[in-house]
């Protein structure tokens, strides 16, 4: 048995904005967010058993995003390493430096700050701030205790505040 078409349509309509938003804040990249988001819905589409309601579907999709995004994160980490290595061996040309600059400018400072904090902290704080979930729900999705959620969110806030503060100081110095 396949998921009913109407049910799928409803989920796609109502949940796409949220899943897209979460995917973006987790990956910090528009293209990756789209890929991640589509992948999650394809997984839902291919599910054999329908989920009881839209809320359950929402949790299920968020969990899928969490699972897939870990692969993205690993890939990003490897790419960053490779880029750093490349930069060390060949200094940036004017062109690529400009490209880097433009890319950085188009991503907001908040998203850049989110990108800088560790994945596990980012995941927790994104689910709190952008999905509006409570600690219990976040714990269930991430497979950790509520106490752990509390710690991760606090640390994420601490790091974010630090990064944003440093940035402001840096800007005012110039």
């Amino acid at each position: 048995m396949k998921i009913d078409q109407g049910l799928f349509e409803e989920a796609y309509e109502t949940l796409y904005p949220l899943i897209h938003k979460l995917s973006y804040h987790i990956t910090g990249d528009v293209e990756q967010a789209e890929d991640l988001c589509h992948e999650a819905f394809i997984k839902y589409f291919e599910r054999k058993k329908p989920l009881p309601d839209i809320n359950q579907t929402k949790y299920w999709l968020i969990r899928v995003v969490k699972n897939i995004s870990l692969n993205y994160e690993k890939k990003k980490f490897r790419q960053r390493k490779a880029i750093e290595k490349l930069k060390r061996s060949a200094p940036l040309t004017a062109d690529s430096a400009e490209h880097e600059y433009i890319k950085k400018e188009t991503i907001s400072r908040i998203q850049r700050a989110l990108d800088k904090i560790p994945y596990r902290l980012r995941m927790a704080v994104v689910l709190k701030e952008y999905a509006g979930l409570n600690y219990k729900e976040i714990g269930a999705i991430l497979g950790i205790s509520e106490g752990n959620v509390k710690i991760r969110i606090f640390r994420a806030r601490q790091r974010l505040a630090q990064i944003l503060k440093e940035e402001t100081e840096h800007v005012s110095w110039r």
Binding site: P17, K21, Y24, H25, Q111, Y135, E146, F154, R157
Partner: protein, 183 residues
């Protein structure tokens, strides 16, 4: 005594239970240091809240059209899809590898293929190699069907065979899209 940063953060998220909530509330009216800490957290939270994600609508549309394509493919059952795949139209040779429990059984079958050899395996069973033109495939299969009790058949197609996609080109294309992620 001041509550820890984690507790203040949880308080901000409304995750602190009844009596403790009261205690923290009171403490915040008295302690400047904690008030400052929580104000900083509120400020960070507000900044995050102001941050908007890029528009999702174009992305949603792209996903929708992709899924629509996927849906039409899903409706073709696996079984039908298999049968619908065309056998190579190009004339080519087929190598039939037949392992029989009893070689005699095979010998009573069609033995008029020129390129046939029988080898005895260490296990005692016989391996019969038949090289046959593809036109004869149907006949071979038919004769095997009649004696299908204890046979293992491996059909090996020559490596240089070219397959022409006759039907269901869409399916291949869709699979290609999925692999390349160009949607």
């Amino acid at each position: 005594m001041c509550p820890g940063g984690e507790t203040l953060s949880a308080y901000l998220d409304n995750e602190v239970e009844g009596p403790w909530k009261k205690v923290i509330e009171e403490h915040l009216t008295l302690c400047l240091s904690c008030k400052h800490k929580i104000d900083e957290m509120i400020f960070t939270r507000e900044q995050l809240a102001l941050e908007s994600a890029p528009d999702f609508r174009a992305s949603q549309e792209r996903g929708r059209s992709y899924l629509a394509g996927l849906n039409s493919i899903e409706q073709v059952s696996f079984w039908r899809r298999r049968v619908a795949l065309p056998l190579p139209a190009a004339a080519a040779a087929v190598l039939l590898l037949i392992i029989l429990g009893f070689s005699t059984l095979l010998l009573s079958l069609h033995t008029d293929y020129r390129f046939m050899s029988i080898r005895t395996q260490p296990s005692g069973s016989s391996e019969v190699l038949v090289t046959a033109p593809i036109d004869d495939l149907e006949r071979i299969l038919k004769s095997l069907e009649l004696n299908s009790s204890r046979q293992e058949i491996i059909i090996q197609l020559p490596k240089e065979l070219n397959f022409f996609v006759v039907g269901e080109a869409e399916m291949f294309r869709a699979a290609e899209y999925k692999r390349n992620k160009v949607w």
